[in-house]
């Protein structure tokens, strides 16, 4: 049991930090531009596929650097030539643009790499067990993923809190017009933030690709969880996104790992009652309901605290 707790906590933290790499960009983009970027998870997928392809051509380490830069450049182009032109027609138009983009990227990826998973492997350098707890070998690559995400988290925090650009971004989160009146080019800041946000999603894709499955439906699979995270944390709140990412990461990992059911907690139902809906519910394991847990959480938080954990906006 202790082993399960330790391993699940590690895995949960890892999944949570990956979610944060994605949700941080998404939530900052939302608070600045008021636009929920439906294509954000697609940038994550592009990161994974670019990572896979570049690893084949030039090796994993250069790919780790190059793939996020490529994804960031695509993100900047989407902001500059897509969203900025759509902006004058209102948020619905922008939303539809990102929505369409998500489908387009999925189809393009499927055309180029097919619909089945590609063979994106952990680099040989990191393909060994880092340590053994009890009887489980914990892979070094997962420790590497955790380290990369924590490193990026720290860099992001320092840039936001300590640099002038970071201060301008923080100011533009709440008062973009005022930032413009002070002579700062808000359009360029938006493009930069969109680019960095996309690049962060790209990094998440490159490092998650070998550990999870790199496949053309991976964006569609992760996207909804991402929205749960930012709504749960409070739209536009970075600290909220951080906490929510970890909470969802841990809950999901633990739920999958636990095999308990009502039957195992309270004993089986009286068999003489015969099979019914109740016996089905009685025997459902926590692992079986794990996929819906985040969405249940979403529903509950929207009822109890619609602005999310740390949100300030009432949208």
């Amino acid at each position: 049991m202790l082993e399960l707790i330790v391993i699940s906590t590690l895995n949960g933290l890892l999944f949570g930090m990956l979610l944060f790499l994605l949700s941080s960009g998404l939530t900052v983009i939302f608070s600045m531009m008021g636009v929920l970027n439906f294509a954000h998870a697609s940038f994550y997928m592009l990161g994974a596929f670019f990572g896979f392809q570049l690893t084949k051509w030039i090796g994993f380490w250069p790919a780790l650097l190059l793939a996020p830069l490529l994804v960031g450049a695509i993100g900047m182009a989407v902001e500059r030539y897509g969203l900025r032109n759509t902006h004058k027609h209102g948020h619905v138009a922008e939303l539809l643009l990102t929505f369409g983009l998500a489908f387009a990227i999925e189809e393009i990826v499927a055309m180029m790499w097919g619909r089945s998973p590609v063979d994106y492997r952990v680099p040989a350098l990191l393909d060994f067990p880092a340590f053994t707890i009890f009887s489980t070998n914990y892979p070094a690559y997962k420790i590497f993923m955790l380290a990369v995400s924590i490193l990026i988290f720290i860099v992001l925090l320092m840039v936001l809190k300590r640099t002038r650009v970071g201060l301008i971004v923080q100011a533009a989160l709440t008062h973009p017009h005022m930032v413009g009146h002070l002579g700062h080019n808000v359009g360029r800041i938006f493009m930069l933030v969109f680019g960095v946000g996309s690049a962060l999603a790209g990094i998440a894709g490159v490092i998650a690709g070998p550990a999870l499955v790199t496949q053309s439906d991976m964006a569609a699979a992760l996207g909804p969880i991402l929205f749960v995270v930012i709504v749960f944390g409070g739209l536009g709140s970075l600290p909220g996104a951080f906490i929510a990412s970890l909470v969802i990461g841990l809950i999901q990992t633990f739920a999958v790992a636990l095999n308990g059911s009502l039957a195992s907690a309270f004993g089986p139902l009286d068999p003489s009652a015969g099979p019914s809906v109740l016996t089905d519910i009685w025997n459902v394991t926590i692992a079986q309901v794990a996929p819906i847990v985040p969405y249940l959480l979403l529903v509950i938080i929207l009822i109890v605290r619609p602005m999310g954990l740390m949100g300030t906006r009432e949208t």
């Binding site: 002038r164 201060l167 301008i168 923080q170 100011a171 709440t174 008062h175 017009h177 005022m178 930032v179 413009g180 009146h181 002070l182 002579g183 700062h184 080019n185 808000v186 359009g187």
Partner: protein, 231 residues
């Protein structure tokens, strides 16, 4: 320095500005007076590009109508909006520093000058600006815009909702800005400060300028005051 000719602006279908003409010369203090809803704030917003302008707006001889607001600001036109848009999560010091447009070119107002001028701001230099009082926020937004070294500063309703003592302080600050040679376009509803420090005043009614003259001329013109200013 600033020339506005036949300025029109719309909110949706309502025609808010219906041909505004106004001028501010270098170093001049000009007030834009009028009751609520006559288009004073919309005039400065249209100049700043926050509301889409139609007509001619020239600043230092350049046509600025419809330029993005950061370009207008960089030409030397400062704007202090009426809602005292401080950045609440940033400290007072950080707010002031963000007023600087180009950190490589120091302007005539330095951070230390601002803090010396307002001991209240100095005492709270490292607290989040969100906790400041209304008067302190007004000082902060005005000082922040000054940090960008404007040649003309447009200040929208700086005394709104402030206690008489604080209104006096805001008046002193504006007088000090004028002494430094910065031109001022002051948008006000109350006459108190405006009549004391302005070189010229405009009175607006129904989206147009209905009176233009010196404060003395306005004082002696009871018709204009009764029809367009007094409640």
């Amino acid at each position: 320095m600033l020339e506005v000719r036949d300025l029109h602006a719309y909110y949706g279908k309502s025609h808010i500005l219906q041909g505004v003409d106004l001028d501010v010369a270098a170093g001049e203090v000009v007030s834009l007076l009028g009751r609520n809803g006559v288009g004073r704030s919309t005039t400065v917003k249209a100049i700043m590009g926050e509301v889409a302008p139609q007509g001619t707006i020239r600043f230092k001889g350049k046509d600025i109508a419809g330029l993005p607001s950061y370009r207008i600001a960089r030409l030397g036109l400062g704007y202090v909006p009426e809602h005292r848009d401080i950045f609440p999560g940033l400290t007072v010091r950080q707010n002031l520093l963000l007023g600087i447009k180009d950190t490589r070119r120091p302007g005539k107002w330095q951070l230390q000058d601002m803090l010396d001028m307002f001991p209240n701001l100095a005492a709270r230099a490292d607290t989040p600006a969100g906790v400041l009082s209304g008067g302190e926020k007004q000082m902060l937004t005005t000082c922040r815009t000054l940090m960008g070294d404007p040649d003309l500063i447009m200040i929208d309703e700086p005394t709104e909702g402030l206690a008489p003592l604080i209104v006096q302080q805001v008046g002193d600050l504006i007088a000090r800005i004028a002494q430094a040679g910065v031109a001022i376009l002051l948008v006000e509803q109350k006459l108190s400060i405006a009549m004391k420090i302005s070189n010229r005043v405009y009175v607006m009614g129904h989206g147009r300028v209905v009176f233009e003259g010196t404060p003395e001329q306005l004082k002696s013109n009871s018709d204009v005051r009764a029809q367009w200013l007094e409640v």
